[in-house]
Structures are given as structure tokens and as C-alpha cells.
Symmetry: C2
Subunit: 126 residues, 2 copies
Amino acid sequence: MITQTAMKAALQQYLDGFNNKDHDAVISLFADNARIEDPVGGGQIIEGKEAITSFYQSSVASVEKLELAAPIRGSHGNSAALAFIINVEMEGKKVRIHCIDVMTFNDEGKIADMKAYWGQEDIQFV
Amino acid sequence: MITQTAMKAALQQYLDGFNNKDHDAVISLFADNARIEDPVGGGQIIEGKEAITSFYQSSVASVEKLELAAPIRGSHGNSAALAFIINVEMEGKKVRIHCIDVMTFNDEGKIADMKAYWGQEDIQFV
């Protein structure tokens, strides 16, 4: 099973990939058959390498900065979670989206499942 | 469906219940058939009113304080998440456990599922 240290390193690489505008670094963290729900309840599931590649190419390009809001959490299993803030433009306005992501890893240390928790009320106009 | 505001109010009541040493206030937030995994991967599932009552009676009694680490997050669905710190004694030593909880609500506005993400490395000795 993946170690807590390895999961936390992967989530830090996720943040760094966004902040360095390196979508390949972000995409490489995911399993080929990974499943993304962002936001949870939003009605859209992103599944498989092609869809994930396209999602992160566009996300990394549009996000100005991801800021960690609290230290990354692990678990006693194969999941880790992070509370962070997405700085991005939405409809021409700068916003901060207060988000918590939960990532579950497979045995190869790749992210197999990602769920992003944020709602309409977590969008702060700046 | 439960509103984001109602979910966030419930999670604030969860924190307040702990900090007021009011286990009944915490227990009342849960559905009778709720399921708790704390910590995720810990191998123990707490399920049903009796088990939840016993779990929170003992948790609320032992926790000194829950501190919110970042604003509570909602979602576009029926889940909300919070990053917080548990101040508690473990084996006679004061520790701070850095935790993220994800709660999913049922149609009656009660918590039906709770997952607590924290691992051995998220325990900080103070």
C-alpha cells in the first residue's frame, strides 16, 4: 500500500504542478482509469486518461494559483485530503474558490479517484 | 435536497457540540442508520444509533477542543467537508490531530455518512 508520505508528496506535486503551469506533472499523478468528480454533485464525472488530460490542460491554464489552506492530511488507508483555495477568473471576475479535495490512490501509487468539495457559496469574489 | 447553508450550519453545530461538551447536540445531527469511518482505513466502521451514541459520548468527553482550520466547504450535492484540528490526550500526552471530515447528508438533513481523513503522521505532539 502507498505510504502516507508518498500520498502527501503526490498532493504537493498536484499543487506545484498547477502553480508551475505544468499540466503534464499534474496528469502524471493519475491512473489511466481514474475518476474525477469536480465539484461533487455537479453532475459531471471525468473518467479515463483522455478526459483527465483535457480537464487538467484547461484547468492548469486557467488557474492563477492554488493556495494550501491547512497541512495536507493522510489517513490510515489509501486516501489523503487537502483544503485549499483556487484563485481563478470566472466570467471575467477574479474569484477564490474554497475547496477540499479527497484523493484515493491505487496500489501503484497513482490517484484512482478524486472528489472536489466546493459549492456555490464557497466562491468568494475578490 | 439539503441546502449548503443548512449543511454548513450542521457542521458548525458539530464543532460547537464538541466544544460545549454537549454530546447529545452532536449525536442529534446523525441519521439513525448513519455510518462513520474514523479514521478512513482504520478498519473500524461505526454504524447505527447505538454505536454512534457510544462513540460520541466517549469522543466528546475526551476531546479538549476542536479548532476549525479553514472555512467549512459545501458542494454542489449533499456533502460538505471541514478541515480542523482535534486537541486531545492520547496515552497521557497532549496531541493535535490534523483532520479533514467529509459528511454526506440524507434528504431529512441528517448526516448519513461521515469519513474522517487523518493518519499517524497527522498527529502532532505538543
